[in-house]
C-alpha cells in the first residue's frame, strides 16, 4: 500500500504500480500528499482509552463539505494535468457488456494512424480488457477495483503516473460496467460518454437518469441487431433528452462499423477544443 496516501488499502490493484516497494511519493505529481489521509484505526478504541479530564465535552463543528469533495480534488488535479498536456480524457460508462471494449479496439484501429492513444481499463477482476487493447498496439493499463464498482479520481491519478499518456493524446477510460456510481465520481475527464446497446431496452435512460444526465454524448451501439429486436430508437433518444436536453446521440455498430465516422468526427472536434492554447500539438 502507498504509505503516504493510504492508497491500495482496499483490494484495488493497478498494473505496474507496485505498492510493496516504498516508492518516493515526490513523484506523485497529481495529488498533494502533504496531508495525511490514511485510515488510522487507533482512535479511542475500547473503554480502556482514557479521555483526558475536561476533554469529554461534546461540541458542534460546522463542516459544510460535499461528501465527494476528496474525490473532486483528485479529479481536479487530473483535469489540470490533462489541460497542461493537451490530453482529451473521455470517461466511457455503460452497463456490463454494452460493447465498450469492442468500440475501443475498433476506434483505436481506425484512429491510431492520426492520434497518439492511451487507455485506462477499469474492471472488478480481470485484465482481459487491457490485453484486448494492448493487442492493438497502444498503451493500456488495467485497474482492478475488486469489490469497488466504479473508478475514482484517486485511482486514475495513480494510473496516470504509470501510464504517462503522450502530449496531445486521446485518453480513453473504460469505467467499470455500472450505470449507477460512475455518474457521481468525476475522474477529471472532459466528457462522460454513455454507451447503450439496443439489446438493453429503450427505457435505460429513465431507469438510470443520473448517468444519462451526466453524459454529454450517448452512443447507441449494436444497431446491426435492430432488425431482430423491437427496440424503439426514437423513443430511446426522447427518453435520453428528457433527462438531459443537451445530450448528443450517435447510432453505431462497433462490429459492422456503421456510424463510426460520426463518433470519430465528434472526437476530432472535441479534441480541437482541448488543444486551444496548445498550437504545437494541433494537427
Amino acid at each position: 500500500m502507498c504509505t503516504v496516501c493510504g492508497y491500495g488499502e482496499g483490494d484495488t490493484q493497478i498494473e505496474g504500480h507496485d505498492h510493496q516497494h516504498d516508492h518516493d511519493h515526490s513523484e506523485h505529481l497529481h495529488h498533494d500528499h502533504g496531508e495525511q489521509h490514511g485510515h488510522t484505526h487507533d482512535y479511542g478504541l475500547g473503554p480502556a482509552h482514557a479521555h483526558a479530564p475536561g476533554m469529554t465535552q461534546s461540541r458542534m463543528v460546522q463542516i459544510e463539505q460535499d461528501i465527494l469533495s476528496k474525490n473532486n480534488q483528485y479529479a481536479a488535479a487530473n483535469r489540470r494535468y490533462f489541460q497542461e498536456h493537451g490530453i482529451l480524457g473521455l470517461n466511457l460508462v455503460s452497463s456490463p457488456g454494452s460493447g465498450k471494449t469492442t468500440l475501443l479496439t475498433r476506434t483505436i484501429d481506425d484512429l491510431q494512424p492520426d492520434f497518439a492513444i492511451a487507455v485506462i481499463e477499469g474492471d472488478q477482476q480481470t485484465t482481459n480488457d487491457a490485453e484486448r487493447i494492448r493487442a492493438t498496439g497502444v498503451k493500456a493499463l488495467q485497474i482492478n477495483t475488486g469489490k469497488g464498482c466504479h473508478l475514482d479520481g484517486h485511482m486514475v491519478g495513480h494510473a496516470l503516473e504509470t501510464l504517462k499518456p503522450e502530449e496531445g493524446s486521446l485518453l480513453f477510460i473504460e469505467n467499470v460496467g455500472n450505470l449507477v456510481c460512475p455518474a457521481a465520481f468525476d475522474l477529471g475527464e472532459a466528457h462522460k460518454v454513455a454507451i447503450l446497446s439496443v439489446t438493453e431496452g429503450e427505457d435505460k435512460p429513465l431507469k438510470y437518469p443520473d448517468m444519462f444526465h451526466a453524459a454529454d454524448l450517448m452512443l447507441l451501439n449494436k444497431i446491426d441487431l435492430l432488425p431482430y429486436l423491437s427496440f424503439d430508437v426514437e423513443r430511446c433518444i426522447a427518453y435520453a433528452q428528457q433527462v438531459n436536453p443537451r445530450i448528443k446521440v450517435i447510432q453505431l455498430s462497433a462490429t459492422t462499423g456503421e456510424g463510426m465516422q460520426a463518433w470519430y468526427q465528434w472526437i476530432a472536434v472535441t479534441r480541437q477544443i482541448v488543444l486551444v492554447g496548445h498550437p504545437a500539438l494541433a494537427v
Binding site: 478504541l45 461534546s58 465527494l68 469533495s69 456510481c181 457521481a184
Partner: protein, 113 residues
Amino acid sequence: MHEMSLCEGVLLALEENAISQGYKRVKTVWLEIGALSGVEPEAMYFGFDVVMNETLADGARLEIIHLPGEAWCMQCSQSVQVSARYEACPECGSYQLHVTGGEEMRIKELEVD
C-alpha cells in the same frame, strides 16, 4: 453499493477535519441529502455503520436531513417541486425543467469530542 463509497468519502472528510479541528471522536454526523442525489437513505445508514466501524466515528449516529427536488420550469416561469430527474412539470407537463436544488450530498455538521 454506491452508498458504501459515499460513506468512505464521509470518513475521509472526517479524518481530515479531525486533524484540522483537533478532535478525536465523532458522535453524530448530519448529512444533507437531496431528493435527486440518487442516494438511498436506508443503504446509507447501513453503509455508515459498516464503514465507521473501528474508526474515529465508531458507533456514531447518522442523521439525514432530506432536501426536496426543485426545478425552474421554463414554460410556466416558476419554481416547482420534482421528485425525480425525468419528471415533467407538475403544473404544465413540460420537460423543459432546470434542476435548481435536490442534488446535494453534503456533510453539514458534526458533534465531536
